[in-house]
């Protein structure tokens, strides 16, 4: 599939492939209300996308890029480290950063530094970093020095406003929860007026790719999530009333199914073939390539033969992929 190489100025022409009862139908995101019924519940991830990419250097002046993955404590974040170069180089071709010693200092700006508190067992490129700042000073400096994570297939550098959904709130996501990018309030109000309820949860969507094989095979890493009691109540009411619980994005599936297993706060749940969904009945998602971690999650929704058919159709009909690409609606 070809990548959408820029944020979509006109979202009305975003294509939607609807998969229902093993059948495939070409549609448009504008026609989403036609595919949903009164009594259905749409659950969205309201995490805003933070500027998770920070330029940095070590004491020997080696240049690097930090991509924050998740906040672990007041001052401690997990981060993936990339060597010199910028976003125009695909992550898998980026040089490795230097190896870090425990306690080594990384500098982002003269007054904004981080100390290495340990490597993850997965890879020396996945570090726990303790910043010298916390609270409002930390957030002030993240927004001052950080940029949104960029993608090598894009024409231009992304601005922070290009990676927000129309309902985004707290900046917990380090990459955009992109299944919601094509939703407008015109469309959402139409759905609400039709009787489709829309409720939020917050899921700190992590990195989609790091170029480090060991890390990428382990994606998604642990992610932080929070589901308001009112959303869980809406899920219960919808299921009891015969409606369908439809997740907007794989991050929402992960959060809801994690809650269904009694998890809260952080999740390491991985969904894939053989996983029996307990909560989610449908999924609005991007068009994912077989190589992506998101594709694994689709295996929890569709059998291999339907997934193969879906992939062929997306390819043949020139659907666009990646963050600003076209979408699929999977109803099971």
């Amino acid at each position: 599939m070809k990548a959408a190489r820029a944020p979509r100025a006109d979202k009305t022409n975003v294509k939607l492939l609807v998969v229902k009862d093993g059948m495939i139908e070409d549609s448009l995101i504008e026609r989403l209300p036609d595919h949903l019924r009164p009594g259905d519940l749409l659950v969205v991830n309201d995490a805003a996308t933070m500027p998770a990419s920070l330029p940095a250097r070590d004491a020997r002046n080696n240049q690097m890029e930090l991509r924050l993955t998740t906040q672990l404590d007041e001052r401690v974040w997990q981060a993936a480290v990339f060597g010199a170069g910028d976003w125009r180089t695909p992550t898998e071709d980026r040089p490795s950063p230097p190896r870090f010693a425990e306690g080594e200092e990384i500098m982002i700006a003269p007054n904004f530094r981080a100390r290495v508190r340990g490597e993850d067992q997965l890879s020396g490129r996945l570090l726990n970093l303790e910043f010298n700042l916390s609270g409002e000073e930390l957030w002030r400096n993240l927004y001052r020095h950080g940029k949104p994570v960029q993608y090598s297939y894009l024409e231009d550098e992304l601005k922070l406003w290009s990676v927000q959904n129309v309902y985004s709130s707290r900046p917990w996501a380090v990459e955009m929860p992109s299944a919601g990018h094509a939703l407008s309030w015109r469309l959402l109000l139409k759905l609400i007026r039709k009787g489709v309820q829309i409720v939020p949860l917050t899921h700190g969507a992590g990195l989609s790719s790091t170029g480090d094989v060991k890390i990428d095979l382990a994606l998604p890493l642990a992610e932080r999530f929070e589901i308001p009691p009112s959303t869980m109540e809406a899920v219960r009411r919808t299921t009891a009333g015969g409606g369908r619980v439809i997740a907007v994005g794989t991050s929402v599936v992960r959060a809801l199914e994690s809650a269904g297993m009694g998890l809260s706060g952080f999740t390491t749940l991985k969904l894939g073939p053989g996983y029996e969904r307990k909560i989610v009945d449908g999924l609005l998602t991007g068009t994912h390539d077989v190589s992506e971690s998101h594709y694994q999650l689709l295996r929890a929704f569709l059998p291999e033969n339907v997934l193969a058919q879906l992939s062929q159709h997306l390819e043949r009909q020139d659907y666009l992929t990646h963050e600003f690409g076209d979408l699929c609606l999977i109803l099971v």
């Binding site: 409002e136 957030w139 927004y143 309030w185």
Partner: protein
Amino acid sequence: MFDFNGKSVLITGGSRGLGRALALRFSAEGAKVAMVARRREELDEVVREIRERGGIAFGIVADVGDKESVYPIMGQATALAGPVDVLINNASALGPVPLQLIPDTDCEDFERALQVNTIGPFRLIKAVVGSMVLRQTGVIVNISSDAAVEAYPSWGVYGASKAALDHLTRIAAAEMADAGVRFLSVDPGEMDTLMHAQALPDAAPSSLQSPAAVAEKIVTMIRQSDRIANGSRLIAPEWRPL
């Protein structure tokens, strides 16, 4: 009825005048207050004052007239204080001081006033309203002026930008009429503030309302906003609690 305890309130122009008074008032009600201002020292002082009184406050150094500031403001405010329950677009630019007749006004001065008084609030509304609709709660107050209604000579830049803000408030309320978010536009009346002194240096401070008294009234308006017609324009000195 809005209980402000634990609620997240975002106030622009929070370091001085009405913004400062609102921040003090909301924090006394138990709200977590995020304040935006351009000058760090003044902002730090208000944050310190609120914390000394046991309140929860955060300072965000930003210019609401700058497009690049919107998501940094939103991100810092929500990361620190939680999803925004109340947004008060209070920051204002007078335009050229001393005030000028329209034909004597530079285009750039008008553009700057529009950026701060109209487009900045528009951007912040756009950034907070979606989350408010999903959570079925939220009040957005845009601080207006009688200059938005009365044609005072030499108030063209300020008056036109505030009139546009009033209308933006009305239209946003009409669009979101059934979506659970309240919009109000409030003319605070004449107050003893630095901005008032810049605009009308000869006014006697004793003839002016204190920002604290007006803040008290605005907090009551917000508390009662579910009983006020959505999109209303309220005049603080004339308004009586319901």
